[in-house]
């Protein structure tokens, strides 16, 4: 849990933070696509798989909102740890939503890639 992204460099700064925030909802829904997870597991999954480190104070209220919107459901499960954990899973609506979001993301990033192609030649 000590995994943290490096402080953003002066120039990458705000834009990068905004971009990460914008992807957070998609990332959370996508992390839950393969099965139920509890809050801490979701954060660890995001940090390990996508380098997306988000403060706990943002993730928990966001999970609560996604649940309020009917995209997630939750259940309490007793664990060996000695205290129960609150697991989230995608509802049918959440599953449809994340698939739509992923499709949009893919077509959007593909077209942006075309636009960025000349920049990559420049770099080399």
């Amino acid at each position: 849990m000590t995994l943290r992204t490096l402080p953003p460099s002066e120039s990458a700064d705000k834009w990068e933070i905004q971009l990460r925030k914008g992807c957070l909802e998609l990332a959370i829904l996508a992390a839950l696509f393969s099965g139920r997870l509890y809050g801490l597991e979701i954060m660890r999954r995001l940090a390990e798989d996508s380098g997306l480190v988000v403060p706990e104070g943002t993730v928990y209220p966001l999970l609560n909102r996604l649940k309020g919107e009917g995209l997630l459901s939750s259940e309490w499960v007793e664990a060996d740890a000695g205290h129960p954990r609150k697991y989230y899973r995608l509802t049918a609506a959440g599953r449809r939503r994340v698939i739509e979001m992923a499709q949009f993301w893919q077509s959007f990033s593909a077209s942006l890639d075309d636009l960025l192609a000349p920049l990559r030649k420049e770099e080399r």
Binding site: G22, L24, G57, Y60, N64, R65, G68, G82, K86
Partner: protein
């Protein structure tokens, strides 16, 4: 023996009860769910009740933020959603007040709403008071200074009153109009804010 004040369990309980208090505008069931989830998170990251130390607890709590800030993130969205559907100035003011604590945009909207509702309410009160309080009205003190007397006290300003009995229809119309305009503005801002946040979550 550990001194009672530094006992991590006590510190955690105090944090959670403060969180519970700040969440009280949400339905009870949801409050319990949120508080227990935060407790579960803290127990997970500190190694559980037995292993928890003051340092590990402080680290966990600082990642969560203060109970006030954490509760505000939960409550604001709920309040704003309610304010979008409900036109009562009180509901709207409460939501905007919470929003103002979270973002500059919310603060700016609050800066418009508070004077808007105050001016609107003043016209209303003056119009309501007129039949009983003859001093209620719009007074011209000197060529540049007007004073709206609400009729709450017996104070009679130096100068003369401009509207007379017309204060009643004018006061209701202006008061109602100002309150409505303020409400429309607040709801429009809230709607825009929530729509953009569907895509781009600001924390």
């Amino acid at each position: 023996m550990t001194p009672a004040l530094a006992d991590p369990q006590t510190v955690l309980d105090a944090y959670l009860s403060e969180l519970r208090r700040r969440l009280r505008s949400l339905p009870d069931e949801q409050v319990m769910d949120i508080v227990e989830e935060i407790r579960s998170y803290v127990l997970d990251t500190t190694g559980g009740r037995a292993a928890m130390t003051e340092a590990s607890l402080n680290a966990a709590l600082s990642r969560l933020g203060t109970p006030t800030a954490l509760a505000a993130s939960y409550v604001t969205d709920n309040l704003l959603e309610r304010a979008q559907r409900n036109r009562m100035p009180w509901t709207i003011l409460r939501a905007v007040f919470h929003w103002a604590m979270l973002s500059v945009k919310g603060f700016l909207v609050l800066l418009v709403c508070v004077p808007g509702y105050l001016v609107g309410a003043s016209f209303f009160i003056a119009a309501l008071a007129k039949p009983f309080r003859p001093n209620a009205g719009l007074w011209l003190i000197d060529p540049d200074t007007y004073s709206l007397v609400l009729g709450m006290t017996d104070r009679v300003p130096q100068g003369h009153e401009l509207l007379g009995w017309k204060l009643i229809p004018i006061g209701f119309a202006l008061g109602g109009g100002t309150i409505l305009l303020t409400t429309y503005f607040a709801q429009w801002s809230i709607r825009r804010f929530r729509e953009t946040r569907q895509m781009r979550r600001t924390a």
